[in-house]
Structures are given as structure tokens and as C-alpha cells.
Amino acid sequence: MRDLFMSECRRFRNAALIFAAIHLALQLFVSRLSDILQMRWEQQVVALALYLASGFGFALYQFGTYRQPSRWLWLLHRPMPRAAIFGAITMASTALILFAVGVPALLTVLSKAYLGELTVDTRHYLLVAHVVLFTLVAWLAGAYVVLSRSRFAAVILVLPWLMLAHLASGRAMLVPALLCVGLLAYLVYTVFKPNRLGPPETAVALAANAIPLQLGFYFAMLWAGSVTYQYGQMVANVHPLNRAVPPAGAFIELTRSSGREAFLQGLKESNDPRAAQWRRQVALLDVADIEPAGRQYPVRHQVSNQDMLQLEDPTQHIQWTFSHDAMRFHGRDLYTNAHRGWIGVRGLGDMTPFAGVPVLVKHGFMTPQQFYAIDPNAKTQRQLIALKAPETLSGATREIGGRLYALTNHRLIAYDKPVDADAMLVERFSVALPGPFSDLDRIDIARLLDGTLLSFNAGRQMIQGASDSAQTVMFVDDAGKAAVVARRALAHDFPPLFEHKEFWLSPVLQAIVALPDLLLDKGFILDKGLAAYSNPLQRTRPAPVLAAALICTLLAACAAWLWLLPMAIGARRKAIWIAASLLVGLPAIPSLMLLQPRPPRPLRKSIDATAPAAA
């Protein structure tokens, strides 16, 4: 085993050296252009894609060369267990990845920490670990694809995407990353056998192969079906987003309408005797709106960055970077790299840490429960808003009609404009959101003489199957008392089978796909009363959708039965496959066809039929 390990290392030694050198040079080059550790995740993901491509390509080349039957036999027919051969190659590849990917990345982080005085946190060392794990995952996925009997095994790539593409804490993300490595390693091991074309040998191996493949086919069917359906709609000029006029009374029409139009539409449904006067006034007024500025906060110790948390003070030549370890802004002299102090909750020189990783907004910082205004001259911050968890701010305050408004996941809050610059904002009134925050698109606000008209425009989640979305118009009088004056139920832009496609295609797989959002803290702003961002299990499903789900599972079971009918395999395995198809639905069928292929048709009969008669 040691010899095989060493020989595999020697085989790729030069390539690893060249890769490591180029990798290090590239890192140094990009570091001169920007602080790569603080880049937004969208920029870092480009680098990640290169790592993934490298790992995947490495596996394709490595196993591609072994894939020829003679070489494969030469590799496996050694006087040592299959697991040892697999272990030697995997460990050699892991060592090479560690050397070519991990070491240069670690050197870059260390150089930033000890030579450049840049802000380097624990999460950046975790980033190195994740980069190595991602590359290893890509290598394992590549190995699985190249060793599997079918090219459709490429859908396995959905597995790392599902498990790892989350902006959660880097510490928490080590668990799914290691799980993913373990699972993929086992999957590769199941296909790492002399007869690469044969089905998985054990029930565990079968299940381990089937579930990721079913997830992959689930997504493939969803995307292909959705794209085909929508393309058809566009060709027929009936796509709600693509046609000239969106469907009347539905969400797209509402979200595209101006505030004035939305009010006029909503107030049509009102029985309030003041509605006619409001309609006339709204036509004369400039209507403002407030909408959630974001749906997600950065999470402490996340390895990538939701946003670049850096400020520059050009007068003092200081760059302020937020440190997740200290939970304060760390100052660095742009000319000398020297440490220039800290910015805490109360401003320059304050060592009080922020309660959460802040978000930079216009003229201030925002954490889930606090809003701080910055005084650029005095270099101080003053807290303007403090909420009680779990109520969460969804954006900075906005001045409308002489008041400041803040939107949270529970309420719309109106504050009086502060007379005393040092005081906290004083709440004038607040109105509870009439529906879930995740469904809210925007709130239109029209200040009237004797109060304020609000239009809560919901419907964002309708495309995901949310029901009961509505436009709710409320009137808040001068005393701050709010009353609903109109409620307009929104029609659906798409048919229910399209909106609930994730469900009826496979309720079980939909629940599995939702698991990461339920289990990981990704900083999402949650709906009131919910403990997780999205819980599809709690969504109400219309009867046609439930019927479609049932039909799909029955169809899947029938298809499995038909596929397995001519096969000479055990009744137990057949029963398991049919039961799995009944449970998983249609995505189980392609996985069945891939993992349990029908034997090739016997050639003898046709040869006999076409053979010339003996003379």
C-alpha cells in the first residue's frame, strides 16, 4: 500500500509542484490588487470554481488513465485488498491536493496575518481547510463520474452543491463538508471494483448510490421540466413575466405597479366610506415605499463574505476591516500597515464588540437588532434603534413624509424625526405585518392629512406555492391606530402544478433538499413564529397538487415494476426498488435504470437468424 501511495505521489509530483507554484503566484498577484480574504462571496466563488475544476480534472485524468480495461485490471489485480488500493490512491491524491492547494493557500493567509498586518480571523484558516475539502470533494466527484458505468452519474455533482453551498459558519460547515467527503469516498469505493459495469453489490452501497443520484435526477427533472414549460409559454406568448401585460390581479402586476397604481387597485376593494377621498388623494400624492433591503445577515465566522466589510478613511489613511474574532472594526494604516486602533459599538476607540456581524448601510451600520448612525466628522456611532430578538431589522431607516420608517420581520415601525441628535429614535407607531415577512414584496406609504395609508404588497412566495397572498391596505390615524381598510387576494400568475412542482415531483426529496436551510444558521431573516427560513412541510397544498404527487409516485412504482420485470434479481431487491420508487417518485426511475441496468440482449439469436444456411 505504501508503495502504491508513493508511486502515485511520484506520478503527479511534478504536476503538483507546478500547480502549487502557479497557485501561490496567482494568490500573491490577486492579493496585490485586493484583499482576497475580504472579497464578496461572488468574487471568491470564481476562485472556488477553479479549485473545483482542478480537483475534478485531476480525477478525470487520474482515473481516465486507469479506466482502460487492461490498466484497470493491472491496478486492481494486486496482491492486496481492494480497500487498500483505493486507500492508497485516495491518500496520495489527498496529499497532493493538500500540497498543491492547501499549502499555498495557508502561506497566503499566514503572510497576510504576520507580514501585512491585515485582518485575519480564525475563519480565514477555516477557509483554507474548506478550500482543501472542496477540492477533495471535486476530486471524489470526478472519480465517481469517471468510474461509473453511465455518463448520467454526473448528476452526483448536485450532492456537494446541496451540502456545501451555504453561507453558514465555517465551523458548522466542517460537518457537512466532512460528511460529503465521507459519502463521496464511499460512493467512489462502491464503483472502485473489478467489474465497473455491475450494479452495487450490497444494499447499503445501493442506497448510498441511489439517494444522491435520485437527488441529482430530481433537480435535473425539475430544471428541465421548468425550462421546457416556460419556454413553451414564451413561444405561445403567455408567460406571465414575458408577455406585454402580466395577468390581471396577480403578483407580477402588483410588483410592477407604481405605489399610486397599487393603492388605487387596492382601495377599489375597500368598503370604507373614506376610500373615495383616499383614491383622489393618492392620485395627487407622490407615494413612497419601503422594502426589505436584504433577506439574510452575515453569520459570525462564515468563511466567505456576504459583503465586503471594509471602510476607508481617506483623511487619516486608515482602512477599517471588520474582525469576526474581535467583533469590532480593526484599523490598519494604508501607508505603513501599522495597527491604528479599533471601532467598537460606540465608535472610534471603543472596545465593546458588536452583537452581531454588522451590515454597512447608508450613513450607518446595522445588526439584526440594532441600527447605528455614523457621524463621519466626530467618528462616533450612536444607536438609533434597538429591537428585542427575534424581531430583526430588514434594512436601514428610510425618511418618508417627515418620518423615519424601519421594516422588521414583524412590523413596520414609524419614528419621529429626532430633534436631539444624540437620542434614540422615538417610535410614533408600528403596524404588524399582515402576512409572513418572506412573502412581503414592498410596502407603499402615502402620508395623508389625518394619518397614513399603507399598502402591504405580498406575493413573493407564490411562485414557491404560497397560498393566501394578498395586498392589504391599512390606514393608521394620527394616534397611531391601524385598521385594515382593504384586502385584495392575489390571483396566481402560474398554474398550481408549476408553483408546486418541487412538491409533487417528489415530496420526500423536496423535504431532503430543504434540510440544510432547516439545520444550518445562514443568517436568514425569519418569518414571525418560525424557527427556520423555509419549511416546505408546513405549506398548504391544493388538491390537484396532492393528486399529481400521488399519480407520480404510483407511476414511478409501476415503471419500476416494469423495468425490473424481466430481470433475474432477487424478489427482495425488486421489492425495495418498487417501494423506493413509491416513496421517492419519478426521480427514482432514472436512478434505477442507472444502477440496475437491464442485461444486454443476447446476440446469439440474431446471429442465428441472419446466418446463411449451411450448404
Binding site: 373615495a276 383622489r280 388623494q281 392620485a283 395627487l284 424625526k417 402620508r447 392629512l449
Partner: protein, 681 residues
């Protein structure tokens, strides 16, 4: 109690006014106007063309006149040698700035608001001596007449809540002259160059004059809130103080106070017992008063020294219909006069030779390059006095189209804002444009107007509903119409802010008098607007609005008085409006809530009233943007064309048409055919 005080105050004013003045006879005004040649129709831009000259200032020694001259793209700083008439340029490419002569006449201070520079007159060398810190609210205050080449600068340290006054030399060296917790409104500097008297507000916002004695500030005098308490000069020993004070709680006068007893002596008051003292011209060398200036109804300069008296007499004889500002100094042989009038689109400048007692016009060439409108093409502004129904004489101005029969011309009544403000006898482009288009313009200075003494200003107390103030305006219109001015069937009314409110009142309570009204940034309920404004943030150190209102007789806590105002407000009586109404509002008006206007317009619309509304985005209580001003003029002219038979208005250009299309929220006041044009369709 309130009513008794109110009635007695009105009665007192009635007696005083009746005794002092009689109604103007309109016949000579109308006849003189008819005899004038008719003016050709001028272009809109002719009325707003600006002078090429700004900041024309005589040096304290009278040797130089400094000025900014605007070219095609930039302005330059120049000086004129008074003796030789030679002009030379000191600096090119100057932006907006103010000029001040140093006391030694050897240098000029150029204040850009962001920095202060000093420019040598002989060599033109410019040196920046201070960069103003906006955070500290630093600003140039005045030239220090006690030092040869020094300026005074103030600042406010908000963190420490300290006000400072500093002297800055031409070398940039500074010296703090005052530091304290109170904002300086006025101050005097003694011969030793130290601050000797300060004028501040106490914690109760009452005026407080303090004198520095033994390094401590000692209270010398108190004045009532809102009354004048202006420091003018002090004797070297500080025992005689000259101030502008409201004499007998009425008109502002120049008063001498002997310390420490405070015995008062009126040095000068309006000989006609009509106007407030508007300003005192001081010697740039000694700081002593030279002229007392009164602006109501037209400017009068009264000399306070023998040479000044002689000059004032000569000026009054030579410039009978003009407002003259005098730049004078004891050392100067020739004084600079700036001539302004209702008929001068651009100022004229003269040198008055004190020995020869002659006048010589200067900068004629520069003025001609500015292409001003010939004054004979513009209308005179005649000061009017008319008797209101309660017997009190009310003031105002009338502008008539030259050469036209006053009885046959349509008349527009223009109501000023405030209401504690006034129209003056100066050039107003809008008035002259309207007159040139064939309209008479009546500008009443109704009771509550300033410049005629505090008793005149305070007479209405809180009667801002359909009461005394509105009656002054309406009775003025009726008096004019009854005396052969204005076609009774072609009357209109307009105004901004309070003027707009009065316009709404007129359409509400005298619905048949005017053919249309145009109300800009207009409160629809005066009481509500004042309450809202009083609840807003005030300016640091200044009198809060609620207190200010109480001092002028509007007590927001007086429920009965406020109810009277609200009950007769346009908002509460929208159903009475019958004539077309054009409204213009600023979307970000901090004074008049846009919601109040839209609520009012919606109510009018519900009643089928002919109302139009333009809501200007990004505008506050003062419409400043050129495009908004264009729209304002266009809509006014369109209303005049449609409802008073005014001249045809050309279609708006593309930019204005687009702006109108975006901002006209309602357009029921212009008939359908006009709407298309108005909206650029």
C-alpha cells in the same frame, strides 16, 4: 381679556393711522400713467437679465471702487481708481463671493463662504487667511474697523456648546475676542480693539445687552422679544450707547442711551411717523452713524452729520423716484451711490462729489453690456394708502401698464407671504412682466406687514381667518375698483405661502370677486400649519416658532382663537369655492404639509370644482429650481390667458412640457383645450 386688548389695540392703531395719513388720491396716478407712452411687449428673459456688476464697494478712503464683473463664463475682481477713472483687474475666475474693504483701504477681503482671502489692491496678490470649518459653522462676520487689515470671524463649537468671535489678521494670525455660551447677535468693539458690548438672547429668548466691565459681562439693557435691540455705536468711555430700538413699542428709531441710568434720547425717527428705521449707515473708519435710512413706502436717507445731511438733501432732490444706497466715509471726497428702483432691472452707480455737490455716473459701459431694459418701458410703482372699513389707513403699491386706461385693464392682486413681511418699492421681475403683459398689479401691505412699526404689524393679533387681515386685502381691491383701477370683471388674486392662503381665503369667502386664484405653497388651514411648524426642530439659539407666534399675537394654545381661524379656513369651507384655482406645492415642504394640499384638492375635486395642482418634486417651501420657476410662470400666464383674456402664451418647450406632464397632478382649472398645451400633448 384677549378681546378687550385686541379691540383697544385696533382702536389705538385706528386713531394713530387716521391722524397720520389720508387715502391716496388715485386720479393723478391714473392720469399720469395714461399720459405715458405704451411699452412694447418685452421678452420673458428681459425681466430677469442680471447686471454684470456685483459687490460694488467704495474703499474707506474713497480712492477705489472694487467690484466683480461677470463675463460670458466667469467673473473677475476689478478696481476703479476714482481719481483717474482707470480700471484694473486684480483676480480672474472668481466664483460666488462677497467683497469687503479693509479699514486701511489697501486690501480687499474675499469671502467665498468656504474660505477668506485677502487681496492687495496695488499688487493684486491674493492670500488665503482662513479656511472655514463647516463643522464649526465658521463664517466671516465683518471687517474690524479698529484694526487696519483685520476681519472678524464667528464659530460655534457644538460639542462644547461655545460661541466664539475671533479676529484674523492679513497674516492669518487669530485672536479670540469673545467666547461664551450665548450666540452673539450684535457686538461693539471699542477703541482698544476689545469687545465692549454684546447683544445676546437670555434663556427666555429676551434681548440682553451686556457691557464688559472688569473682565465680566454686566447686564446693561433688556429689550422685549422680537423688538429691535440693535447695537450701533458706543462712546469711547462706554457711557453713551447708540442703538436701534422700538420707540414706544412701535417704530424702530435711532436712540441714544446714557449709561448707567439708561436715559433715552431719540436721535432720529421717521419724520412722517410712518416707517421703521430700516438701517443705519456707519462710517467705515470710525463706526459712527452717518445716515438713517427708511424704506417704507419708499427710501429716504437722512444725514446724521453735517456733510451727510447736505448729501442727503442733494440726493433727495436729484433722485426723487429711486432708492439710493450711499457708501460714505468722512475721508472720501466722493461717495458712491447705488441707484435702484422699481423700473431699473439693473442698478446704476453714481459718484457724488461732496465739494461740487454734483453727480457723475460710473460704470455706464459695463451696465450697457448687461443690456438692461430701458426704464421708460417699465412701470412705476405707486405707493398707496387706503382706508379700511375699521377706519385704519392701510398701505400698498400699485403698478399700472403705461399708457393704458387703468379702469379697463385686468388687475392681479399679489399677496405677500409671511404674513410678517412686506412688499417694497423695488424692482420685481414678475410684477414688471405682468404689467408689460397688460395687467395692473396691486400689492397690499395689509396689517401684519413689517416696516410700518410694531403696532401696525401686531394689529391683527390672531385674526388670520376670514378676518381683519383678509378684509384689508379685499377692501383694497374694492377701493381700487371703485376708484377707476382695474376691470371689475377681470380680477384675479395670487400669492405664495401666506399669500397663497389669502388667495384660498379670497376664493372661499369672496367667491365672485376674482376670476381665478393662484396659490403657491399655500396653507389650507393657517392654524394647523403653524401648529405643525411650531412642533418641528428649531434653530440652535434662536427664538422657537411657538414663542415667536405668541409674541405676534398668535397663541396656539388659545383654543377659541384657533377654532375661529380653523372654522373659517379654506380647508373647512372648500364647498364655497366656485372659481378656477391653480395650486403649486413643494413635495418636500417642511412648512406646509403636502398632504394638507392634496387633501384639499381632493375635496375640491369631489365637489367638481375647477382646480389644478402641480407638485414640484425636490422643492421645499421656496421654489428655487429654474424649471419649477418656469412652470410657475407658464401656468400663471396660462391662467391669465384663459380667465382674464391675457395675451396668448406660446407652447412650452420640450423640457418644460415634460416637467408639466410629470408634475401636474390635477388640471381642472385650465379648460380642456388648454390642458393639452399645458401638459405638452
Amino acid at each position: 381679556m384677549f378681546l378687550q386688548r385686541f379691540v383697544s389695540a385696533v382702536a389705538l392703531v385706528s386713531v394713530l393711522s387716521a391722524a397720520q395719513a389720508a387715502p391716496t388720491s388715485l386720479k393723478p396716478i391714473v392720469a399720469a400713467n395714461l399720459a405715458l407712452p405704451a411699452a412694447p411687449q418685452l421678452k420673458d428673459e428681459d425681466f430677469s437679465r442680471r447686471s454684470r456688476l456685483r459687490e460694488v464697494k467704495l474703499s474707506p478712503d474713497g480712492a477705489w471702487i472694487a467690484y466683480f464683473e461677470s463675463g460670458e463664463k466667469n467673473a473677475s475682481l476689478k478696481v476703479l481708481d476714482v481719481a483717474t477713472g482707470e480700471k484694473k483687474q486684480l483676480l480672474a475666475d472668481i466664483g460666488r463671493a462677497q467683497l469687503h474693504w479693509s479699514t486701511d483701504s489697501q486690501a480687499l477681503f474675499v469671502d467665498t463662504g468656504e474660505a477668506l482671502s485677502v487681496v492687495g489692491v496695488k499688487d493684486g496678490v491674493s492670500t488665503r487667511i482662513a479656511a472655514f470649518d463647516r463643522k464649526l459653522q465658521q463664517q466671516f462676520i465683518d471687517v474690524d474697523v479698529r484694526r487696519p487689515r483685520h476681519a472678524l470671524v464667528s464659530e460655534f463649537d457644538a460639542a462644547a456648546k461655545r460661541y466664539r468671535l475671533s479676529r484674523i489678521g492679513a497674516d492669518g494670525a487669530g485672536e479670540v475676542l469673545y467666547e461664551g455660551p450665548k450666540k452673539l447677535i450684535d457686538f461693539l468693539i471699542d477703541g482698544a480693539g476689545q469687545v465692549s458690548f454684546i447683544h445676546t438672547l437670555d434663556d427666555d429668548y429676551r434681548h440682553l445687552v451686556s457691557r464688559k466691565q472688569d473682565a465680566k459681562w454686566t447686564e446693561t439693557l433688556r429689550c422685549k422679544r422680537l423688538q429691535s435691540c440693535q447695537l450701533v455705536s458706543a462712546s469711547n468711555d462706554g457711557r453713551v450707547l447708540t442703538m436701534v430700538l422700538n420707540e414706544a413699542d412701535d417704530r424702530k428709531s435711532l436712540v441714544q442711551l446714557d449709561m448707567p441710568g439708561g436715559r433715552r434720547k431719540v436721535l432720529h425717527a421717521d419724520p412722517d411717523a410712518l416707517a421703521d428705521l430700516s438701517q443705519v449707515k456707519l462710517s467705515p473708519r470710525t463706526g459712527e452713524p452717518l445716515f438713517a435710512v427708511y424704506d417704507a413706502p419708499r427710501r429716504h436717507n437722512f444725514g446724521l452729520t453735517a456733510p451727510a445731511k447736505q448729501a442727503a438733501g442733494d440726493i433727495a432732490r436729484r433722485f426723487q423716484d429711486a432708492s439710493i444706497s450711499v457708501s460714505a466715509s468722512e475721508d472720501a471726497l466722493r461717495w458712491l451711490l447705488t441707484e435702484r428702483s422699481a423700473r431699473l432691472t439693473q442698478e446704476r452707480f453714481w459718484l457724488y462729489d461732496r465739494k461740487a455737490r454734483s453727480f457723475q455716473q460710473v460704470f455706464e459701459q459695463e451696465r450697457a453690456l448687461g443690456n438692461p431694459v430701458p426704464e421708460q418701458h417699465l412701470a412705476r410703482k405707486s405707493a398707496l394708502d387706503y382706508r379700511a372699513s375699521d377706519g385704519v389707513i392701510v398701505h400698498g403699491y400699485l403698478s399700472l401698464p403705461p399708457g393704458k386706461d387703468a379702469a379697463k385693464v385686468p388687475m392681479l392682486t399679489m399677496v405677500h407671504g409671511g404674513p410678517w413681511g412686506a412688499f417694497e418699492n423695488d424692482y420685481q421681475s414678475l410684477v414688471q412682466m405682468l404689467v408689460n403683459r397688460g395687467f395692473a398689479v396691486f400689492q397690499p401691505n395689509f396689517r401684519s406687514s413689517t416696516g410700518y412699526g410694531d403696532k401696525y404689524m401686531l394689529a391683527p393679533q390672531s385674526d388670520f381667518g376670514n378676518g381683519r387681515v383678509q378684509a384689508d386685502i379685499i377692501e383694497g381691491v374694492r377701493w381700487l375698483a371703485a376708484n377707476g383701477v382695474g376691470d371689475k370683471n377681470r380680477l384675479a388674486i395670487m400669492g405664495d405661502s401666506f399669500g397663497g392662503y389669502s388667495t384660498l381665503q379670497a376664493l372661499t369667502h369672496t367667491p365672485q370677486l376674482f376670476q381665478f386664484g393662484m396659490a403657491t405653497v399655500a396653507p389650507t388651514d393657517f392654524g394647523r400649519t403653524m401648529r405643525n411648524a411650531a412642533g418641528g426642530p428649531g434653530t440652535q439659539g434662536d427664538l422657537p416658532l411657538a414663542l415667536h407666534l405668541r409674541e405676534v399675537g398668535v397663541d396656539l394654545n388659545d383654543a377659541a382663537a384657533m377654532k375661529r381661524v380653523t372654522d373659517s379656513s379654506p380647508a373647512a369651507n372648500a364647498g364655497k369655492v366656485t372659481r378656477p384655482l391653480m395650486m403649486i406645492a413643494g413635495a418636500k415642504d417642511p412648512m406646509v404639509d403636502i398632504a394638507a394640499i392634496t387633501d384639499y384638492v381632493a375635496t375640491l375635486q369631489a365637489g367638481g370644482k375647477p382646480v389644478s395642482l402641480l407638485v414640484a418634486p425636490d422643492e421645499g417651501h421656496n421654489l428655487r429650481k429654474p424649471l419649477t420657476r418656469q412652470a410657475y410662470l407658464y401656468l400663471l400666464m396660462k391662467m391669465l390667458e384663459q380667465h382674464l383674456g391675457g395675451p396668448a402664451v406660446p407652447a412650452p418647450d420640450t423640457e418644460l412640457a415634460k416637467f408639466l406632464e410629470q408634475t401636474m397632478k390635477a388640471n381642472g382649472a385650465l379648460p380642456a383645450t388648454a390642458q393639452k398645451v399645458a401638459l405638452g400633448q
